[in-house]
């Protein structure tokens, strides 16, 4: 396993890698400690500039990786290199050895791909935020936190071992908490940030246990060692298996997967993601495309060989993925909040990615298939661009109408022409229409699922694709086509910055005039730039098939037959997508859509869907009845009576003794004299005075 990772420390690559982590952190420090308080414009510009510099470094690093590592397969058979590594902590083992937790910068196909995506999207989101946060008085707090978020995610994807992954994993959690609750004066934002933090933290607890369990057994935290076949073998034959009653390989990988489960918001941990909409729109955009939620997918992909060696783990990955994909797509069809629709679509796409990884193990058994891995990573790549763009466009829409309710929009095509075209591209890409990016990656996923014999999951994913096309066309037609809905509806809590909505109350309802000015250049340009990869990113397919492979996969074995096997798949997927879009147009693009939209919230099954299957209510019931009554109440009783009671008893004894002593100190001089005399007599009689 040693020769898989060649260190490139000291050279240009090492310096570039240092810079990629240092610049966002520098931006966090400068803006957080100093510049953010001075001027919000300067803060935004500095953060954007530093993130742009990071993007340049990332491109240079990718170039270095391309020429040094990918172009040189003889020296780098695993396509993996370490840009630098620094040992942080060393843990001795009972067996006499030791393993260390280190900070490193791992270069392999997926980490380089993610570094490019994160820096590119963070840069554009920073540019966009300059416009979006222009009127927000607390923007000086926004930019440093955004930089911290990007920094955490960059550190996470380049981690060379699980300790570093966990460290940055938690940093991502903290910074997302800060950003979701950015408008802390809104109780809903505070609740959403707490929800996101608690749900992911709950899952992270299992993750940490899994990391310890696996690391102690394997004797290493390095991914190169964990992914080696020897590690899986060592875990499977672990002497603890009898003690735990299950296979340690399965248990450990499942525990680690729990972390990914929560972070990537797979059912039933999905509840935090739609609520995370309470943050500013650029944050939602970043969370949903490049940072935070893909971290779970990324971790699963990072440990793909280990997961694939476990009997049940990949099966569970697949089941959670495909269920979440379908479940979230169904809910998305009945939401009325712009950002919530997009949030559920993200959930659905994350399910796709997770399911694709899970489909990597052929149903009939046998060696894991790297094509499924490649497809998943490819979908992360393409999804990041168009989902980021859709969210940024939604931000423009919200800025323009000062509401995030779909029933306050309608007919925005003429008011926001450029956003209209960008959203059209995004919707087509998400719906998976040829030749947009989503088409290629979804097809790869479906292809891998079929090839590996996961037929049920295949059809569920196909249905999800059709639903995706349907709800995105619903979104698109409702927002941009037809007349404005807004007459008579009150403008409830807008997610636009408070100051922006304050001065707009007067002319929000009547609408059209002067609102095209809301398409600020710094907000529109990132969207237009993102439209380019949303269209063309799909053509990177062959590059991904050739190079983006899991650790320990050899190109010759798996790469050959992928991508050409099923001639009927593309027509089928396209027909499904187009017919779903047609249905969306028939319902929501023509007259009478208002009554259809109204009926969505009322009738039986539709009402259940519109209320998101009452999952949140179920959690609330669980927390109140099981959590509070069965767990919290007895613990509170124990704490108050037994623990506090013991302390109270001790203090009571001490207080009693003190009371007795203070009685002697009466302040009565005559009593003192009496005591002194009695003492003198005692001394005279028994004290050796001889009387």
């Amino acid at each position: 396993m040693g020769n898989l990772q060649v260190s490139l420390a000291g050279g240009a690559t090492g310096h570039l890698a240092c810079g990629i982590l240092a610049l966002p952190f520098l931006s966090f420090l400068i803006n957080g400690l100093w510049l953010g308080r001075k001027s919000r414009t300067a803060s935004g510009l500095a953060a954007t500039f530093l993130m742009g510099a990071t993007l340049v470094l990332a491109v240079l690093l990718a170039w270095q990786y391309w020429t040094l590592v990918l172009g040189n397969p003889a020296s780098f058979p695993g396509r993996t290199a370490l840009a630098w590594e620094h040992t942080w902590m060393t843990f001795p083992l009972e067996s006499g050895g030791a393993f260390s937790a280190s900070f490193g910068f791992l270069l392999d196909p997926i980490s380089v791909m993610m570094v490019l995506v994160i820096t590119f999207i963070s840069f554009l989101v920073n540019v966009y935020s300059i416009g979006y946060m222009h009127d927000d008085k607390s923007a000086g707090r926004f930019f440093p936190t955004l930089s911290l978020f990007s920094f955490s995610m960059l550190g996470l994807v380049v981690a060379a071992n699980l300790a570093q992954t966990f460290f940055f994993w938690e940093l991502v959690g903290v910074s997302s908490y800060l950003l979701i609750g950015f408008w802390y004066h809104k109780p809903s934002a505070v609740a959403a940030s707490k929800k996101a933090f608690i749900v992911t933290r709950f899952a992270d607890a299992f993750f940490l246990v899994g990391v310890i369990l696996v690391a102690v057994q394997v004797g290493s935290l390095d991914f190169s060692a964990l992914n080696a076949p020897a590690a899986a073998e060592s875990l499977r034959n672990s002497p603890w298996a009898a003690w735990f009653g299950v296979n340690i390989l399965t248990l450990g990988t499942l525990l680690i997967y729990m972390g990914a489960w929560g972070k990537s918001a797979m059912f039933p941990f999905h509840v935090w993601l739609p609520d995370a909409m309470e943050g500013p729109t650029p944050v939602s955009s970043l969370i949903h495309s490049a940072t935070m939620v893909v971290a779970g997918i990324y971790l699963t992909a990072r440990l793909f060989p280990l997961f694939a060696a476990a009997e049940y783990t990949l099966r569970i990955v697949e089941v959670t993925g495909v269920f979440t994909a379908l479940f979230a797509a169904i809910i998305a069809c009945r939401q009325t909040d712009l950002k919530r629709i997009l949030a559920y679509s993200t959930l659905s796409q994350l399910g796709y990615m997770m399911f694709s990884l899970g489909a990597g193990l052929p149903a009939a058994g046998g060696a894991p298939d790297s094509a499924a891995f490649t497809a998943s990573m490819f979908h992360i790549f393409t999804h990041a661009f168009f989902k980021c763009m859709l969210f940024l466009s939604a931000g423009v829409i919200i800025h323009a109408v000062h509401s995030n309710d779909i029933r306050d929009t309608g007919g925005l095509r003429r008011i926001l022409p450029r956003t209209y075209w960008a959203t059209l591209v995004g919707c087509l890409a998400l719906a998976g229409v040829f030749p947009f990016a989503g088409f290629f990656s979804k097809e790869e996923i479906l292809h891998a699922a079929w090839e590996n014999g996961h037929y049920i999951a295949f059809f569920a994913a196909l249905a999800t694709g059709a639903l995706t096309a349907f709800y995105m066309s619903r979104y698109f037609f409702l927002v941009f086509h037809g007349p404005r809905f807004s007459a008579g509806r009150s403008h409830q809590d807008s997610h636009a910055p408070a100051s922006a909505s304050a001065h707009s109350d007067g002319h929000a309802a009547d609408g059209a005039a002067g609102q095209s000015a809301k398409e600020m250049p710094s907000m529109v340009w990132p969207i237009l730039i993102l439209a380019v990869p949303s269209v063309i990113a799909g053509f990177a397919k062959n590059f991904f098939i050739a190079h983006v492979l899991p650790m320990y996969a050899v190109i010759a074995e798996n790469g050959s037959e992928a991508g050409s096997g099923l001639p009927w798949l593309s027509p089928l997927a396209t027909v499904l997508a187009v017919s779903s879009i047609a249905l969306g147009w028939a319902w929501y693009g023509r007259k009478g859509r208002k009554s259809i939209l109204g009926a969505e919230q009322e009738t039986g099954l539709a009402k259940i869907v519109a209320n998101k299957f009452y999952i949140d209510e179920g959690y609330r019931f669980l927390v109140r009845n099981v959590g509070n009554r069965l767990v919290a109440a007895p613990i509170t009783w124990f704490e108050r009576t037994v623990v506090n009671g013991a302390f109270d008893a001790v203090t009571a004894v001490i207080r009693g003794a003190a009371w007795v002593q203070s009685m002697v100190q009466s302040g009565q001089v005559q009593a003192y004299i009496g005591i002194a005399l009695v003492g003198l007599l005692i001394l005279a009689r028994w004290g050796g005075l001889g009387l």
């Binding site: 002593q661 203070s662 009685m663 002697v664 100190q665 009466s666 302040g667 009565q668 001089v669 005559q670 004299i673 009496g674 005399l677």
Partner: protein, 112 residues
């Protein structure tokens, strides 16, 4: 007149003084009782000096010299006691000015 009678007198005076000190509520009366106890001790000094203590150290010493020393100490102690009393009476006057009475049982500001 012998040593025993003197010591008995001294013991009686001491007991009366102690009793007075512990029972009188008036500050001045208590001080007078205290003075009785001091004087009981002084009687002891003088008595031992006059009649000889019979202690181990007394044998080698000149008895006339001893008598002078004992009286000297008694006189010395009387002077010290007088100074003490002057101080004590000053305190009594201050207490009386501040509190308006001299009940010793009410001077319990040092209680715990």
């Amino acid at each position: 007149m012998n040593l025993t009678a003197c010591l008995l007198l001294s013991a009686c005076l001491f007991a009366i003084g102690a009793y007075g000190l512990m029972t009188r509520r008036n500050f001045i009366a208590a001080l007078m009782s205290l003075e009785l106890m001091v004087n009981a001790a002084l009687i002891n000094f003088v008595a031992f000096a006059r009649f000889g203590g019979g202690g181990a150290g007394a044998a080698g010493l000149n008895s006339a010299h001893d008598a002078e020393a004992g009286s000297l100490f008694a006189l010395f102690a009387v002077a010290v006691t007088a100074a003490e009393m002057a101080l004590a009476l000053a305190i009594v006057i201050a207490v009386n000015r501040q509190r308006g009475n001299l009940d010793i049982r009410e001077l319990d500001g040092m209680h715990g």
